[in-house]
Symmetry: C2
Subunit: 298 residues, 2 copies
């Protein structure tokens, strides 16, 4: 199984269009020890022919173009066999609208995610321009499902995050909270990978699950709980936004036997700077920081 | 006045993710005489400090990053003073959702365009996360308006295009057809530029208007009326999709005194290939083909 990280940043990417924090400013000035990153996006394949996307990021057009195995092989064609959504947030789902050119696509997501995207946004009608253009396959949180006939099997875990802020409260009140944000464990024969880009806490059973994996890709949005308060004078703590701070994950996620990688990294996070003490600290704890183009073979 | 072309392609850009036509295939193989292009996007400034965007393309994040005058000058800041929309199509408007990071923005569009985007799509609530985040300024087709205090004045022209395909018919039936697709004439002191990326025909009064301009940027989507029928076996002609073919524009748009530039160019259009007879033909007729990074000074 090949997992290709097409994007490793949180919403807004790195650098962010309206941000000139220490990270963004130095990156633009060419004096930053680290690289730019697009919004979190994975591509996974068991046979290097059919690929499954995890997330559909707003940067998807550039991400597909940057990875030749995802280029079309005929006049109208795509090697993308399916798209699996963790949630309905703009940074995880907007890319569906970029896949609008009369191409049949299959999307795996919860019923709530499908409803807040497709039922509440006429824009998604671009995926219904011809019969059979889009097929939604329902993910039941906690249940396992196969990705077509690829041999890849996915188990979903509800991480008890909230529905996106753009969802009107009256609408959100009638949606299952379990269906808002998912993490996934991907399995192929005896290989297992975890993908939890949005994680506000670690339940004991999730930790047990991570301990069975060859690689875990987990929420690396913020280093500390008050990161945005310090950099941008905003009032929200990382945990209130659904993100367990990296410094706490390092302490909580122990006894993992596989590779440990932070993904979904916000532009303000000091771990992006490879010369920072925070970067050194996570490396010393055996962790890695995902980057665009990173290749994981299981 | 500086006009910077940040993107010159039609919807889907060039190359297009699921297309392997002669243009897209050769570009990816590195044997194409011409360059990649992102979706149509202009930035305009009269003082090289405050910039106005025309369109908000899905490629906007990359387009802003590629043009340093649009980078933030403070921790949270943008030199973008306003965004002017020609229509509500995905390729012209989706970029608004990329400008969601708590940054105040001003959007100029018709009432119909605002309604089919904001009222019919909860995703746009990301622009209402804090008071005063987004301000819509209504464009009345045919009327002129100032872009803030920049000294730039814009006259809008309804090009009688249709509302986007994603708008439900029952909704479209209650919207003014004049408010669906606009062209603009931009004026600053005695300089004038026309931007008509969607044009299905040329009315005599539009031609008269173009004849007063120092530069015209007009619809270059397709070379011929049956281009998509030949390349993709789809049933639609260029004109049915709201685009006057380039070969007919060359014949119709005569006696222009300024620069004549085609923009909004589809990936299938032979004019992208600088070695093609079609490219030679338009050059011989005094026309240019817009490209990402093209700079126009008035």
């Amino acid at each position: 199984v090949q997992i290709r990280i097409l994007g490793a940043a949180a919403g807004g990417a790195f650098p962010q269009w309206n941000c000139s924090c220490a990270n963004c400013a130095r990156l633009r000035q060419g004096r930053f020890s680290g690289q730019a990153r697009s919004q979190t996006q994975l591509a996974v394949s068991a046979d290097a022919r059919d690929w499954f996307l995890f997330n559909a990021s707003p940067d998807l057009r550039y991400q597909l173009e940057a990875f030749p195995p995802l280029h079309p092989q005929a006049t109208r064609h795509t090697p993308i066999a399916g798209i699996v959504l963790t949630c309905a947030e703009v940074d995880a789902a907007l890319g569906l609208l970029l896949l609008r050119e009369f191409q049949p696509i299959t999307v795996y997501c919860t019923e709530s995610v499908r409803r807040v995207l497709v039922e509440d946004n006429t824009l998604f009608q671009v995926l219904y321009r011809q019969p059979g253009q889009v097929t939604f396959i329902n993910i039941v949180p906690g249940a396992a499902f196969d990705l077509g006939t690829s041999g890849l099997r996915v188990t979903s875990v509800s991480t008890a995050g909230g529905h996106p802020g753009f969802v009107p409260k009256a609408r959100a009140d009638h949606l299952s909270p379990d269906e808002a944000v998912l993490g996934f464990v991907l399995e192929h024969r005896d290989h297992r990978a975890a993908f939890f880009p949005n994680l506000s806490r670690v339940q004991p059973d999730w930790l047990a699950l991570f301990q069975t994996c060859d690689v875990v890709l987990v929420d690396g949005t913020f280093w500390s709980d008050d990161e945005l308060i310090r950099t941008h004078n905003t009032a929200k703590k990382a945990r209130e936004m659904g993100h367990l701070p990296v410094e706490e994950s390092i302490a909580s996620l122990t006894d993992l036997r596989g590779r440990k990688i932070f993904i979904h990294i916000n532009n303000t996070n000091p771990i992006l700077d490879e010369d920072s003490p925070e970067h050194a600290k996570l490396r010393n704890a055996g962790w890695e920081v995902a980057y665009d183009g990173m290749k994981i073979i299981l």
